[in-house]
C-alpha cells in the first residue's frame, strides 16, 4: 500500500511538472513561432511576462520528481538513467540553455543580443519536452531492461517513443497557448487573446491527433499496453478526450474572465493530467514494463517509503500555500517581469515602465480583495515575528 501511495505521489508530481513546467516550455515554442521582431513583439512580451516570476518554482517539480524517483525506486532509477542516458543528456542540455537563455535575454538591451538569446531560449524549449517524452515512451513500451548496463539507442527511437516525444511537445504548446490566452484576456488585450486562442485550438487538435496516432501505433506494436489503456485505463483516456473537446468548444465560444477563464485552464490541465494518469494506471503496479520491477521491489526499504509519504505531506502543507500565494499574486498582476529587469527593447514605447516614485516604489495601485488579504497576511506574519523578537528582547 505504501509503495502504491509513493507511486501515486511520484505520478502526481510528474503531473504537476507537466502542467506547470511544461507550459513554460510551451511558451518557448510560441516564442519561436512568433515571427520577426516587429510581428512577434506583443506575443513575446506576454510570454516573457507570464513565465518570468513562475518558471523557477515550476521547474523545481522536476528536481522533486527526480529525488522521489531515486529515493523510492533506486533500482528502476539507475536502470532508466543508464539505458536512456542520451535523451536525458539532451533534455538536460535543453533545460540549461532554456533557463540561461531566458534569464539572459531579459537583461539584454541590444536587439541582436536579444534575438540570439531568444533563439537559444526558444529552440532549447523544444528539446526538453521532446526528449523527456521519448524517455517516457521508452519506459511505457518496456524498452528499459532492469539491469541496464549500457545506453541503448533503440530504446527511445521506436515509433511510439518518438510519437510520445512529439505529443509532449504538442501538449506543452497547447497548455501554454491556453494559459497565455487567459493572461492576455486578463490584461484586456483582445487581439493577443484571439492570437493565442487560435494557437490553443490548433495545438489542441495536433496534440489530440498525436495521441490517437500513438494509440493506433500501440495497437500494432504493443498490444498488451494498448489493451490496458483501452481496458483498465479507459475512463482516464475518455476523460482526456472529453477535456480536450471541452476546451476546444469553450475556446470557440469566446473568452470570459473570472471563473470561466480559470475553468478553461483547469480543464486543459486536467486533460493532460488524465493522459499521464492513464499511462500510470495502465502499467500499475509494474514500474518497468517487460521486467519484474514493480513499485514495491524497486530497491527502497519500507521505512524510506514511509518517510517519502511524510515528506509529501510536508510538501502539501508548506509548498501548497506558497504556490497559491505566488499564483494569486501573479493572477492579480502584482508581479512584474519588467520591474527589476527591463522592458524588452522590442516592447511598444508607450508601454514602457513609468518613472518610479521618490523611494523607487510608487504607491501600489488599489489591489483587489484577494491580494489585499495575501499582502495583509504577509504583513501580519512580519508583525508577529517582530512582536516576538521584541518580547524576547524585553525579557
Amino acid at each position: 500500500v505504501t509503495a502504491a501511495a509513493v507511486g501515486g505521489i511520484l505520478l502526481a508530481s510528474v503531473t504537476l511538472y507537466a502542467v506547470l513546467g511544461g507550459a513554460d516550455f510551451g511558451g518557448g515554442l510560441w516564442d519561436l513561432l512568433a515571427g520577426g521582431d516587429r510581428r512577434g513583439r506583443a506575443p513575446r512580451r506576454l510570454i516573457d511576462e507570464s513565465i518570468t516570476p513562475v518558471w523557477e518554482a515550476n521547474h523545481v517539480w522536476l528536481v522533486f520528481d527526480l529525488v522521489i524517483f531515486w529515493t523510492a525506486f533506486p533500482h528502476a532509477f539507475a536502470a532508466v538513467m543508464t539505458a536512456a542516458a542520451l535523451p536525458l543528456w539532451l533534455a538536460l542540455a535543453g533545460i540549461v540553455l532554456r533557463g540561461a537563455g531566458f534569464a539572459f535575454r531579459k537583461e539584454a538591451r541590444r536587439l541582436s543580443l536579444q534575438r540570439g538569446l531568444g533563439a537559444i531560449f526558444a529552440f532549447s524549449s523544444l528539446l526538453t519536452p521532446f526528449f523527456m517524452g521519448t524517455v517516457i515512451g521508452a519506459i511505457a513500451t518496456g524498452q528499459i531492461p532492469a539491469d541496464a548496463s549500457h545506453a541503448s539507442l533503440a530504446a527511445w527511437t521506436s515509433a511510439t517513443s518518438l510519437l510520445t516525444g512529439f505529443l509532449f511537445t504538442g501538449a506543452c504548446g497547447y497548455l501554454a497557448a491556453v494559459y497565455l490566452a487567459g493572461e492576455a484576456a486578463r490584461g484586456g488585450d483582445r487581439q493577443l487573446q484571439a492570437y493565442f486562442t487560435r494557437r490553443a485550438q490548433a495545438a489542441g487538435i495536433v496534440a489530440g491527433a498525436l495521441s490517437l496516432a500513438a494509440l493506433a501505433e500501440l495497437h500494432g506494436s504493443d498490444p498488451a499496453l494498448y489493451g490496458r489503456l483501452t481496458g483498465r485505463a479507459l475512463p482516464l483516456v475518455i476523460t482526456a478526450g472529453l477535456c480536450g473537446l471541452a476546451v476546444l468548444a469553450l475556446l470557440t465560444a469566446g473568452w470570459r474572465n473570472g471563473v470561466w477563464g480559470i475553468g478553461v485552464r483547469v480543464i486543459a490541465a486536467l486533460g493532460v493530467a488524465a493522459v499521464i494518469w492513464g499511462w500510470g494506471v495502465a502499467q500499475y503496479p509494474v514500474l518497468l514494463p517487460g521486467t519484474a520491477v514493480t513499485l514495491s521491489n524497486a530497491g527502497a526499504p519500507h521505512t524510506t517509503l514511509v518517510a517519502i509519504v511524510w515528506l509529501s505531506v510536508a510538501a502539501v502543507v508548506l509548498v501548497g500555500p506558497s504556490f497559491a500565494l505566488l499564483f494569486s499574486l501573479q493572477e492579480r498582476r502584482l508581479l512584474h517581469a519588467d520591474d527589476v529587469g527591463t522592458v524588452l527593447a522590442t516592447a511598444p514605447a508607450g508601454q514602457a515602465q513609468p518613472p518610479a516614485g521618490a523611494s523607487g516604489r510608487p504607491p501600489p495601485p488599489a489591489a483587489p480583495p484577494g491580494v489585499r488579504a495575501a499582502v495583509l497576511g504577509l504583513v501580519a506574519l512580519g508583525a508577529l515575528v517582530r512582536a516576538l523578537v521584541r518580547r524576547r528582547r524585553g525579557r
Partner: protein, 470 residues
C-alpha cells in the same frame, strides 16, 4: 610512453569511465557551488540592505537592494539550471551509487527539495514584487528565501557529510532494509560540515559583494553608494570569518579521528607516529617533501593539543585505499587556511580603523585586499571542496563503496565532459558579461543626463532608475 601506458592500465583497472565521470562531476559541482553560495547568502545581504533602507529611509541602501535583486535574478536562474544538472548527474554518472544507496541519501535530498521549492517561489514574489507590494510586506516576502537557503544548504551538506560518515541504515545481503532519516540527516560529519559550508556561503557572498564595490572605490568612485555597498557585504562576512576559522579548526580535528587517511593527506603524515611536524606548502613526491616549510611538533599540537599526540598516517591503510594525489589535497588545504587568515586580517584591519578613527582604512592596500576578497573567498571554498572530495577517494561512500563501483558503465562520458566544459565556459562568461553590462547600465544611470553633455543620452529606462536612485 611508459607514463601513458600506466595511465591506460590504471584506467582499465578502475573502470574506464570513472576518471572522466569524476572530472565532469568536479567541473559541474565546482561551477554550481559558487552560485549555490550566492543563492544561500546573497538574499540575506539584499534583505539587510532593504531593511536598512526601509528603517532609516535610506535611498542609497534601497537602490542597492533593488539592483542586487536584479543581479540575483540572473544568478538564481543560472544556479537553478546548474543545480538541475547535478541532480541528473547523480543518476547519469553515478547509477551504481544511486542503485545501492539512493534510498538512504535520497531523503535529505527530498527535504532539500522542499526548501528549494520555497526558495524558488518566494524568489519569484520578491524579485518581481518590488514595485507593487508595499514596503514591509515586500521585505517579509524575502525572509523565506533567506531561511530556506540555510535549511536547503543543511540538507545538501547532510548528503555529502553522510558520504563521509555513512550511517543511519541497516543493510542485509547487500540490500538496504531500513533507514533512519534523522540519523542520516544528522550524521557524525554533519555537525561540522554544515556550519562550515553555510559560513563559507556567507563569506563568499559578502566578500564578493564587497569586492565589487572595493574595485569601484579603487577606481576613484568614492561616494556613499560605493561605501554602503562595500560595507553591506564586507561587515557580515568579516564578522563571520573568525567563527569560520574556529569551525574549520574543529572540523580538521574531527577528521583526524573520523577519516584519518584524509587528515594524513591534508598534513603529509606518511607514517603513524608521535611528534608529527606540520608542513606549510611543499610538494610530496615519493616520500620526500620539496619546498615546504617544516614546523616541528606543530601537527601533533594542532591535532591533540600536545606535541606528543599520535597522528595516524596513510600507511595505516593499503595503498589502494589511499587518496590519489596527496600533494593536491595538502596544497588546497594550505591555500584554504591561508586565505581564511588573509580574510581575517582584512576584517581585523577594518575593525581597528573603525575603533580608532571611526572610518574604514584609507590605505590603498586595504582596498586592494577588499577588491580581491571575493575571489579569495571563492578560491578558499573551492579548495575546501577539493580537500573533502579528493581526500575521500577512492571511496564515494566512505569505506562502503568505491567511486569506481558507483560510476556509470556507459561509454562516452568523455563526450559529455567535453560538451559540459565548453557549455560551462560559455555560461560562466555570459553570466559575468551580463552582470558587468548591468553594472555599466547602472553607472550610466547614476551619471544622469547632465554628466554626459557630449555623449549619447541615456536610454529612458536608465533615466527613471537614476532619478529613483541618486
Amino acid at each position: 610512453m611508459r607514463f601513458v601506458d600506466m595511465v591506460v592500465a590504471a584506467a582499465a583497472q578502475t573502470g574506464v569511465e570513472v576518471v572522466p565521470a569524476r572530472a565532469q562531476m568536479a567541473t559541474t559541482l565546482g561551477f554550481h557551488i559558487i552560485l549555490a553560495c550566492l543563492g544561500i547568502a546573497l538574499p540575506t545581504i539584499v534583505l539587510l540592505a532593504e531593511f536598512i533602507g526601509l528603517r532609516r529611509q535610506d535611498e542609497v541602501a534601497l537602490v542597492l537592494a533593488r539592483r542586487w535583486s536584479q543581479a540575483m535574478g540572473v544568478l538564481v536562474a543560472v544556479g537553478a539550471v546548474t543545480g538541475t544538472v547535478l541532480s541528473f548527474e547523480m543518476g547519469l554518472l553515478w547509477p551504481g551509487l544511486m542503485r545501492q544507496y539512493g534510498a538512504v541519501l535520497g531523503l535529505p535530498f527530498g527535504i532539500e527539495g522542499l526548501f528549494f521549492f520555497l526558495e524558488a517561489i518566494f524568489v519569484g514574489i520578491y524579485l518581481y514584487g518590488w514595485r507593487r507590494l508595499p514596503g514591509w510586506a515586500h521585505f517579509w516576502s524575502g525572509m523565506p528565501i533567506a531561511a530556506s537557503g540555510i535549511f536547503g544548504a543543511m540538507s545538501v551538506i547532510a548528503v555529502n557529510s553522510w558520504m563521509n560518515q555513512p550511517g543511519g541504515f541497516t543493510a542485509s545481503g547487500g540490500r538496504i532494509v531500513s533507514v533512519n532519516t534523522w540519523q542520516v540527516f544528522f550524521n557524525h560529519a554533519a555537525i561540522y560540515e554544515m556550519p562550515h559550508m553555510i559560513l563559507a556561503a556567507y563569506m563568499v557572498s559578502g566578500f564578493a559583494v564587497a569586492g565589487v564595490y572595493a574595485a569601484g572605490i579603487l577606481r576613484g568612485r568614492r561616494d556613499r553608494y560605493h561605501y554602503t555597498g562595500f560595507a553591506l557585504g564586507f561587515v557580515p562576512a568579516a564578522v563571520l570569518t573568525p567563527f569560520q576559522i574556529f569551525v574549520g579548526d574543529t572540523a580538521a580535528r574531527a577528521i583526524a579521528s573520523d577519516q584519518p587517511v584524509k587528515f594524513a593527506s591534508m598534513e603529509y603524515v606518511a607514517r603513524t607516529s608521535r611528534d608529527v611536524p606540520e608542513w606549510v606548502g611543499g610538494v610530496y613526491v615519493n616520500g620526500h617533501t620539496y619546498a615546504g616549510l617544516r614546523i616541528p611538533y606543530m601537527d601533533s599540537l594542532l591535532a591533540g593539543f600536545g606535541p606528543g599526540t599520535r597522528v595516524i598516517g596513510w600507511d595505516s591503510v593499503p595503498a589502494a585505499d589511499r587518496p590519489p594525489v596527496v600533494w593536491l589535497i595538502h596544497l588546497c588545504f594550505d591555500v584554504m587556511v591561508g586565505l581564511g587568515f588573509l580574510l581575517l586580517l582584512a576584517g581585523l584591519w577594518a575593525a581597528w580603523a573603525w575603533w580608532r578613527h571611526r572610518r574604514l582604512p584609507p590605505q590603498r592596500l586595504f582596498w586592494l585586499l577588499g577588491a580581491v576578497s571575493g575571489l579569495a573567498a571563492i578560491v578558499a571554498m573551492e579548495c575546501g571542496w577539493v580537500v573533502t572530495e579528493v581526500g575521500r577517494q577512492p571511496w564515494v561512500v566512505y569505506r562502503l563503496q568505491t567511486t569506481a563501483a558507483a560510476a556509470t558503465t556507459n561509454g562516452g562520458v568523455i563526450a559529455s565532459l567535453s560538451f559540459v566544459i565548453v557549455l560551462y565556459a560559455v555560461l560562466g562568461a555570459a553570466t559575468v558579461l551580463i552582470l558587468r553590462m548591468l553594472a555599466r547600465r547602472w553607472r550610466r544611470a547614476d551619471a544622469g543626463e547632465a554628466d554626459v553633455p557630449y555623449g549619447p543620452p541615456p536610454e529612458p529606462q536608465d533615466r527613471s532608475l537614476g532619478r529613483a536612485g541618486l
